[in-house]
């Protein structure tokens, strides 16, 4: 384990280069280049604003700036789902490399995390600019950004290492994860406010609901980016034990994912 970590550290430059490659290749041959990373959230904001603010008139129901609420949750959600989808297939899609060159294979899923992080940070910066432009007060909690980012990254890293290793042996994983992400999305307070769950579900169901680690992570993001009034005065369902539990789970996941990956990687070249 220690040796493996040292090896990974030796190859940190490869991780950086692969991340760099993913970022670069994504917008290669496109005229606007990485500006697309900024245009996408802008368009998202416009669409949400038109759909929910003007057409559905949610504003009348006390949902002012619903678009910001939505953005503050959907960006970290997309960050998780795209990194997971990309990294799950990462070992298999680099079959050529895995069969022909030796390097610590975990850089393959991790490089996708890197490139997704890059886009995510750009998008969040855009969101902050929008907030300022619309004169929405920023909360001081926003300073926790890097911390929460590391938290979410830990969670994703564990899952993606585990899934990308498993996907080499059972290609079903890749398809399965797409469905799971869809269901998971609706079980996480991204497009509806958490108060909806809190007020309509019996308390045991709310507890069950809050076992979802992504619910905690998304709530955190919403809290620090845009403390919307419809999140409720008691800062939704965020609690210290709940958060500590989720952090512990993420750390366990990352260890479990890394160990599983290490166990299976010796057979990648044969099975791929």
């Amino acid at each position: 384990m220690k040796e493996k970590l040292k090896r990974l550290f030796d190859y940190r430059e490869l991780l950086f280069n692969l991340t760099h490659k993913e970022v670069k290749v994504k917008y290669k041959n496109s005229f606007l280049g990485f500006i697309w990373s900024l245009v996408t959230p802008l368009m998202m904001l416009v669409v949400f604003y038109v759909a929910f603010g003007i057409i559905f008139k949610l504003r009348a129901m006390g949902m002012q700036y619903y678009a910001f609420y939505l953005m503050s949750g959907i960006l970290p959600w997309n960050f998780m789902s795209t990194s997971l989808l990309l990294s799950t297939g990462s070992v298999v899609s680099n079959a050529d490399l895995v069969k022909k060159v030796y390097f610590p294979r975990e850089v393959l899923p991790l490089s996708h995390l890197g490139s997704s992080s890059f886009h995510f940070i750009l998008q969040e910066l855009m969101l902050i600019i929008f907030l300022v432009a619309f004169r929405v007060p920023l909360t001081p909690w926003i300073l926790l950004f890097p911390l929460i980012m590391v938290f979410e990254l830990t969670f994703i890293a564990g899952l993606s290492m585990f899934l990308s290793a498993l996907n080499v042996f059972y290609r079903d994983v890749q398809h399965f994860i797409e469905i799971v992400l869809m269901a998971w999305f609706w079980m996480t307070p991204v497009i509806y406010p958490i108060s909806l769950m809190r007020d309509s579900l019996p308390s045991w169901a709310v507890h069950l609901y809050m076992l979802n680690p992504m619910a905690h992570i998304i709530l955190l993001w919403q809290r620090i980016m845009y403390n919307s009034p419809h999140n409720g005065p008691d800062a939704a369902l965020l609690s210290v034990p709940g958060l500590l539990g989720t952090i512990a789970l993420s750390v366990c996941l990352v260890i479990f994912g890394y160990i599983t990956f290490g166990r299976l990687e010796g057979k990648f070249a044969e099975f791929i």
Partner: protein, 401 residues
């Protein structure tokens, strides 16, 4: 351990790569059992044959030595090389390497088509485990060696295959690793570049680098290497003097058809006899002569419902004729212990040429091979020369006045 004298230079006694009792098996799946569903349905059935690519290989490559690995297809050369790079891990045995390794298993593995040549140099070098700062000093050298000139700033997808190969080779060789592993890549590229590469290898030899070269062409091995390892069916056949071994190798390759064997070995086909009319073993037959193919098998344990069969293949690899006991509706309820089976061909219709024979024992639906000897035997056909083509046909000629 003997210190060998090569030319004016001695190779050291310090090991660079140590292999001890290396064995490696692969599972040959009858059908890729990749999805979960199939795995569940077939959970009891063993859907694969074990194929031993390497069996108990011991080898020490010394620092500063150039070792050539030769052998026919499927002898385990590439598998051995991949284990030295740690891409594959052995089932048994230990591998130790000392020093940085660069492997040329396939040139330009890991090149990204959308990046430029220069960007790919950085990417490729880091895949090979080298740091950017190690690269700074030699990047110009790499570009110069690759002869790409201004094209280095172009996307790799626009490169010709020659340019691709030159860049790949140029990166690996200029990184100046302690150990360079090369797999069959010298065969590509034009002759002048090949010469340049061989020059470079000689240069590395002078610098005391360790090189392992896998090659089909034994002559390259003979001219470049200090020692040669001849692998045959995953085992060391010979190790030592390059000139002597390549000579023997050439001789053996002319004698031997390309073939392989695999199977679970529940039934072992121990001996195959090719008999002529008089019941003598031979490999020469005249068109129209009879042939008896005798399989001597040994079923280690009782095997129910086996099928025995054979096939003749021409030199192009096409099956000329084949049959088995199932196709002929011969039921064999069970075999156990030793036995014989004769396939009697009354008259061979083939004209001239060499024909390879595959024989096999497998289960009824053909899913499980007990023993399959693929093109391991051959015989030569000789015709009196009154006909042309592949087969003789009953052909009478009427001449109308």
């Amino acid at each position: 351990m003997v210190v060998r004298e090569i030319g004016t230079r001695r190779t050291s006694e310090i090991p660079a790569i140590e292999l001890q009792g290396i064995s490696k098996s692969f599972r040959l799946y009858h059908d890729a059992n990749y999805s979960l569903k199939e795995k569940v349905i077939n959970w009891r059935k063993r859907g694969y044959d074990l194929f031993w690519a390497l069996k108990g290989v011991d080898l020490t490559v010394f620092e500063g030595e150039t070792l050539g690995i030769i052998g026919p297809n499927g002898s385990g050369k590439s598998t051995l090389l991949r284990m030295m790079t740690k891409i594959l891990s052995p089932n048994e045995g230990t591998i130790r390497t000392h020093g940085t390794i660069a492997a040329l298993l396939e040139l330009g593995a890991g090149f990204h088509p959308d990046l430029t040549g220069r960007e790919n140099i950085y990417l490729n070098a880091s895949i090979l485990g080298f740091k950017r700062r190690q690269l700074e000093g030699i990047i110009d050298e790499i570009i110069e060696f690759s002869e790409l000139g201004p094209f280095i700033e172009n996307q790799v997808k626009n490169y010709s295959s020659g340019m691709y190969v030159r860049l790949g080779f140029s990166i690996a060789i200029n990184l100046n690793p302690d150990i360079l592993l090369v797999d069959e890549v010298l065969a590509v590229g034009d002759e002048s570049f090949q010469g340049k590469c061989l020059d470079r290898i000689a240069h590395m030899q002078r610098d005391g680098k360790t090189i392992v070269l896998v090659t089909h062409e034994a002559d390259i091995a003979a001219s470049v290497c200090h020692r040669v390892l001849w692998l045959e069916k995953g085992k060391e056949k010979m190790l030592g003097d390059p000139i002597g071994i390549t000579e023997l190798y050439h001789k053996a390759m002319r004698m031997r058809p390309e073939g392989s064997e695999f199977g679970t070995r529940d039934i072992v086909i121990e001996k195959v006899e090719i008999l002529n009319q008089a019941g003598e073993e031979t490999t020469d037959f005249k068109t129209g002569e009879p042939l008896v193919l005798r399989l001597n098998y040994n079923a280690v344990q009782p095997v129910k419902d086996p099928v025995f069969g054979f096939g003749f293949y021409n030199q192009m690899g096409f099956m000329v004729y084949g049959t088995n006991t199932r196709l002929r509706d011969i039921d064999i309820p069970q075999v156990y212990g030793k036995g014989k089976m004769d396939f009697k061909i009354v008259s061979l219709p083939m004209l001239d040429g060499r024909y390879y024979i595959s024989v096999a024992a497998h289960n009824r639906d053909g899913m499980l091979n007990y023993h399959w000897l693929d093109k391991l035997y051959y015989f030569e056909m000789h015709s009196p020369g009154r006909e042309e083509g592949v087969l003789t046909l009953q052909c009478d000629i009427d001449l109308a006045p």
